[in-house]
Symmetry: C2
Subunit: 322 residues, 2 copies
């Protein structure tokens, strides 16, 4: 039955925001190969694991990852209580959006600051706080909410994979709980299928109730090789499909493509200055350089935002309450 | 539609290996309350998270957790290559099944030894190795395969919860990858819904392929408060239903019951010397003592193996290839 459905979806060519071209053809061919019962490359549904990076792969990451803006607002509040933060690095650079110093800290340092700003919140408090922020916070360059700047072609791809009995996971360098605050409504991805950077936590008993408290220290920075380790920890199976957009995704892509049988690894190239942004090697903390140079060697397919996507953003914005 | 199905399942009283009694009644009432559309306690499916301990909750853990026997066989091989292990503690106690010394090491020390025995294997090698072992390894007291000593009433409960749109997770002190080697066939639980103790890993590139190697060092010992932290990390949502059998599950049960709205927390009491075993306070590394004494205070329901289960083990054994 799954196979008949798959065949039908496949025939209907459901990726309507994707241009007819090599990327769309590769996706349709791959999904057909693994989901048609009569295919020599058929995979049972439990093997159909797909992993997607988030920042720059599912939503816009310019001018900086959304995590930065989320952390900066909170840091601003903390600096009101403790003005010395405004003079201390790396907080000063964060508050002043000083890209030079931020770049010096590196990607992990950047996320460490962002993560530490929510220390002391319980998981329930953090969740409410994140949803309140996501409901209103806007991208300064696009004057739309961050959450509305998800990519329409990718929403269609997530749906298409699920229709063909794939289990879709997000594997992001961003904070796991920030993504979980919108992943179900916006991506249709259950919280338990989100993997990301995380902070250490501590259980606390108050009035006989057990809650979980966020600490300031990073537990896992989910980037590069750590993405592979976290895929093994959270998913327990090597993906057959992976989609990323930066050197931080290269290990995940190579790991995916290292398995036997049918595999597909894709990299989104932001080459569309008109509709989104054009950037790769020079992006502050998350460049696309090695992965671009070696994509052919590793068998990774390049997706051109400019040529392969008919639409970039969801015209009506995301399904997320204002 | 989900509600009509739920109603139907509920009416059919599907827990046929459960005796009619307070435990079965509590389960049926709880599942009805949260899954009937017209119930004031209705929960949308994404909120229906159930977590189960494994050792002693889903399968037999006597005379010691299965992990012990799995690790000991491997340690025996290592000791052939390095006979000095036979004279060094805690390996000596492990090889000789010396419960006095094992108890002194504590539960974490016990699992550390077990985990370290598989250092150096890739995840694929470990998976094949675990499946080969599970296919043949027998419980010395029951002369049946460990994997055949899963509890029939619990298999029915897992199915019943899933039929009512619960998402079922295993949250075990046992090694995450050992459980994943049989969870899909035997429990119907996808690997990504297994949480457990884990070792650190390292990525390795050989001949252009990326693999993941197990290291000897424990990354997370998934017991007591750490179960709560790992539920937050892997699931990202407080469960509404939890089932355990030892003090190691108490934090998970209290965390589950600390949320607002409908909740059910259950503890299996092994009080059936005839069909399985009768033990609680004195069990080597995983006693049931505090949780037993305080179950009423915390609102945890006790399930008596003797009185609440009509059958204990699956008569035909598990669905796992020999």
């Amino acid at each position: 039955m799954a196979s008949a459905d798959s065949q039908e979806n496949y025939m209907q060519s459901p990726l309507s925001s994707w241009s007819d071209g090599p990327a769309k053809a590769a996706i349709l061919a791959f999904v057909g190969r693994v989901s048609r019962q009569d295919s020599p490359d058929f995979l049972p549904p439990e093997e159909r694991i797909a992993t997607f990076d988030n920042d720059g792969t599912l939503w816009c990451e310019q001018p900086l990852q959304v995590q930065f803006f989320f952390g900066r607002e909170q840091l601003g509040k903390l600096a009101q209580a403790d003005p010395s933060l405004k003079e201390r690095q790396p907080y000063k650079a964060f508050l002043e959006h000083d890209l030079g110093v931020i770049k010096q800290q590196g990607k992990q340092g950047f996320f460490e600051v962002a993560a530490a700003t929510h220390a002391g919140m319980t998981e329930d408090e953090f969740h409410s706080h994140a949803r309140e922020w996501l409901a209103r916070a806007k991208n300064p360059l696009k004057d739309r909410r961050f959450v509305d700047l998800v990519y329409q072609p990718q929403l269609e791809l997530l749906d298409f994979l699920r229709q063909n009995d794939f289990r879709v996971f997000i594997v992001s360098g961003g904070g796991i709980d920030l993504i979980r605050a919108f992943s179900e409504e916006v991506y249709g991805v259950p919280r338990s299928q989100v993997v990301g950077s995380s902070v250490k936590t501590r259980t606390e008993i108050q009035a006989g109730k057990i809650d979980l408290l966020k600490l300031a220290e990073l537990q896992s920075f989910d980037d590069r090789e750590v993405k592979v380790q976290n895929i093994a920890l959270h998913i327990g199976r090597r993906p057959v499909f992976a989609f990323g957009n930066s050197d931080g995704d290269l290990a995940m892509l190579r790991y995916t493509l290292s398995g036997s049988g049918p595999r597909l690894g894709l990299l989104l190239h932001h080459d569309d200055a008109e509709r989104e942004f054009a950037y790769d090697r020079e992006f502050v903390v998350s460049p696309l350089a090695e992965a671009l140079d070696r994509s052919e060697e590793f068998g990774i397919g390049l997706v051109s935002m400019k040529n392969d996507w008919r639409t970039v953003f969801c015209p009506d914005g995301a399904v997320f309450p204002k």
